[in-house]
């Protein structure tokens, strides 16, 4: 089991560096994302000014140095080589370019100024210092704990991580609602479908799930709004239609959960269909196994065979699937949130795409990718605990 877990974790290392490297390359080498141009908007930049900014942002350094810096900015622990002899200096355009700002509180350590001093953070209007969660120094190293630094919004100048942090609870709420629907309806439909194989219900579940997995989700969301928000307006009293942005505002007539129903159904739709399919095929497969025949031969009731014997084995892949899916939902549902104006992380990313606020798009996708990667890792590792074959020493392969 530990061998299995160790291997999963080890496999994660190259994945992590690969994904961050790709992100780094996109951020620095795609035309639209050129950080120098972003400072200027659509305006043309005079060449000497450009060179100045390139130097200031440290973009003239070798790519691997920049990549390591990028990793550092994403981390919760920031280490800076600190040399206190040079105080923070302000340049002509008002940005701070010294190695000092980070360590202002850290006891200063005497020594020469290293060449290529670290720029802590530069933006046109404000200086975001790091170390809000605490900092200490070991010799010339300043070690700080803080939120990852994802830059600041072009539109508002707020730190991207704060904007995303504000949106995140909505995404979590929606994901929880959707995953509950998925567990209940997905597993339920799968069991019915398998127990009554080839019955009317089985055929219905199979048909509906085939259509659901081919649906464009955003279309489903819009159609649900149309049916329940507009055609059935008199029945529902206009509930299910108002976007939650109005929640708590004078327009909101219903308790919060009412606004959650349609987005949750939309988000859950496709994965519920998959969960039902997996549940069905797993149960059917397990039902053919020898130990189930033995249990039946011993005279156990159908219910006991199903719940005590068959489900135990059949559930493992379903639980894994739902776990991975929950990770995906926690990562934010751009399409669902966009259709319903649900102010989570996906909607925030969409707004930023429309408003060309690249730091938010980039920071948002980065956060989403990290959530997906880590949840996948957790689910992979927990597989070791779920599956007794791995728990008792197997490798699972």
């Amino acid at each position: 089991m530990f061998q299995y877990i160790a291997r999963r974790v080890l496999q994660f290392v190259p994945v992590f560096f690969g994904v961050t490297l790709i992100l780094f390359l996109i951020a620095n080498y795609l035309p639209g994302a050129d950080p120098v141009q972003l400072k200027f908007g659509e305006k043309a930049i005079p060449p000497e000014r450009k060179a100045q900014i390139v130097h200031q942002l440290g973009l003239d350094r070798p790519w691997y140095t920049q990549y390591i810096d990028y990793l550092g900015s994403l981390s919760l622990v920031h280490m800076t080589y600190y040399d206190g002899s040079a105080p923070a200096t302000t340049t002509a355009d008002g940005s701070l370019t010294a190695d000092g700002s980070v360590a202002l509180v850290v006891p200063r350590v005497p020594g020469p100024v290293p060449s290529g001093s670290v720029i802590i953070h530069v933006s046109d209007s404000q200086i975001v210092t790091r170390g809000a969660w605490g900092r200490f120094a070991i010799g010339p190293l300043a070690i700080e704990f803080d939120k990852p630094d994802l830059g600041t919004s072009l539109a508002t100048g707020r730190p991207v991580i704060d904007i995303l942090g504000q949106a995140y609870p909505y995404t979590v709420e929606l994901a929880l609602a959707a995953i509950l629907l998925e567990i209940f309806f997905g597993i339920g439909a799968g069991i019915i479908s398998a127990v009554k194989q080839y019955s009317f219900w089985d055929i219905l579940v199979t048909l509906v799930s085939s259509v659901l997995v081919s649906l464009p989700v955003f279309w489903l969301g819009i159609m649900l709004q149309q049916v329940f928000g507009i055609w059935l307006k008199n029945v529902t009293g206009g509930a299910f239609y108002l976007p939650p942005l109005f929640d708590g505002s004078p327009g909101a007539k219903f308790p919060h959960f009412a606004y959650l129903i349609l987005p949750a159904i939309t988000l859950a739709s496709v994965s519920t269909a998959y969960a039902a399919r997996i549940m069905r095929s797993q149960l059917l497969e397990v039902n053919g196994a020898d130990y189930i025949r033995t249990a039946r031969a011993k005279g156990l009731s159908a219910g006991a065979v199903l719940w005590k014997h068959a489900m135990k084995n059949a559930m493992i892949p379903v639980v894994t699937f739902i776990g991975l899916d929950f990770g995906a939902m926690l990562a934010g549902a751009i399409l669902t949130e966009t259709v319903f104006n649900w102010p989570g992380i996906g909607w925030t990313i969409y707004k930023a795409i429309v408003g060309k606020d690249f730091p938010i798009v980039f920071g948002g996708v980065t956060v989403v990718l990290f959530v997906v990667m880590f949840v996948n890792l957790i689910v992979d590792v927990s597989y070791a605990f779920l599956d007794p074959r791995i728990r008792y020493g197997g490798t699972g392969e």
Binding site: L30, A33, P216, I222, Y274, A328, M329, G396
Partner: protein, 347 residues
């Protein structure tokens, strides 16, 4: 193989396939990536190779497959629908604008008088906000969707076959490197990277080309794994050893002996993936990152129709229905091919 081992493989098999299902990537939730492990891909292709050996009695694999496919009613209906769509999309320039008026350009003289017409004989599905015929727009939308779906999958398949073949044929460092690369690309839902790349492109550079490239270039890892697994199992066959013994070169072994016997799962998966790529394109266009007006795409039609949904639900309903029918057709055709080619894969 003992029962418990068999069971274990099946379970992994199932999980791998579910995670790897092509359509899954495009749903709203931006799902988790499909980390099918190479060992598993290998396992579920063992059966493929075995059966192919038994099949080889006189008739060709493809002849057999076609015979079986013809008996599958659902797959046949799907195939007919797809053929109709392709025909309509390819020949659209010849007849659509004559029958319904040019669906891409706005005719300022008639735009206002013709806007949002109810269905009539002249406009079977009515007109949109700019007085353009809906049916004509749907047919041109099919052209965009099919182009993206087919081209993106072709790109993915070509890269996937190449890397999968290298990986399966040359164990060791080549294999490890390529497989670590697939790990990286499968670690996240690729639609996210499509969104990121397309959002970072200047607006003027957006369009059908970048959409095809981003979907195609990010979709290869599943094909690489699948084909690697096939190659690994086919490689063990005696006829490959025999070929090597009489001095066949690596490329001859690959293209003449291994490839024809290892390609079936890739074909099945590719067919299903076209539906996934079409869904992804629709989603990207819906978000405004995909095909840009005046080019017509179903996803974009849904975005545009959303505002007028309460009075004219058809503006959103029809493009969505087209997407569903097309994606379901590719899935059904893929299912049919799977059975016809006798590839062991589960849904």
């Amino acid at each position: 193989m003992t029962m418990s081992e068999h069971d274990k493989h099946e379970r992994h098999d199932e999980r791998a396939l579910v995670e790897n299902h092509p359509v899954r990537d495009s749903r709203a939730g931006l799902p988790a990536g499909p980390p099918i492990t190479e060992e598993l891909a290998h396992l579920h292709n063992d059966a493929v190779a075995d059966r192919h050996d038994n099949d080889a009695a006189g008739r060709t694999l493809w002849g057999d497959a076609w015979r079986r496919l013809r008996r599958n009613r659902l797959a046949l209906i799907a195939l007919i629908w797809l053929v109709l769509m392709v025909t309509a999309a390819v020949s659209a320039d010849l007849w659509v604008s004559r029958l319904f008026g040019d669906p891409a350009t706005i005719n300022s003289a008639t735009a206002m008088s013709n806007r949002l017409l109810s269905p009539t004989l002249a406009h079977p599905l009515g007109t949109d906000t700019m007085g353009r015929d809906m049916l004509g727009r749907l047919i041109y939308g099919a052209r965009a969707s099919l182009t993206v779906g087919l081209s993106a999958v072709v790109i993915s398949v070509v890269i996937g076959l190449l890397l999968g073949a290298l990986s399966g044929f040359y164990p060791g460092i080549t294999d490890s490197l390529i497989m670590r690369m697939t790990d990286i690309f499968l670690a996240f839902p690729y639609i996210l990277f499509c969104i990121l790349i397309l959002a970072m492109l200047p607006t003027s550079a957006r369009g059908i080309g970048p959409v095809i490239l981003s979907i195609g270039l990010l979709g290869w890892p599943s094909f690489a794994r699948l084909f690697r697994g096939s190659v690994l199992s086919v490689k063990e066959n005696d006829y490959v050893d025999a070929g090597r013994a009489i001095g066949a070169s690596d490329s001859r072994l690959m293209f003449r002996h291994i490839m024809p016997n290892a390609i079936a799962p890739v074909i099945v998966y590719a067919t299903m993936s076209i539906g996934g790529a079409i869904l992804t394109e629709a989603a990207l266009s819906f978000l405004g990152l995909g095909i840009q007006p005046p080019e017509i795409s179903w996803g974009r039609m849904i975005t545009d129709g959303q505002r007028l949904m309460d009075t004219n639900p058809g503006l959103v309903f029809w493009p969505g229905l087209m997407i569903i029918l097309t994606v379901v057709s590719f899935t059904l055709l893929g299912d049919g091919l799977r059975d016809a080619l006798d590839v062991k894969m589960k849904d």
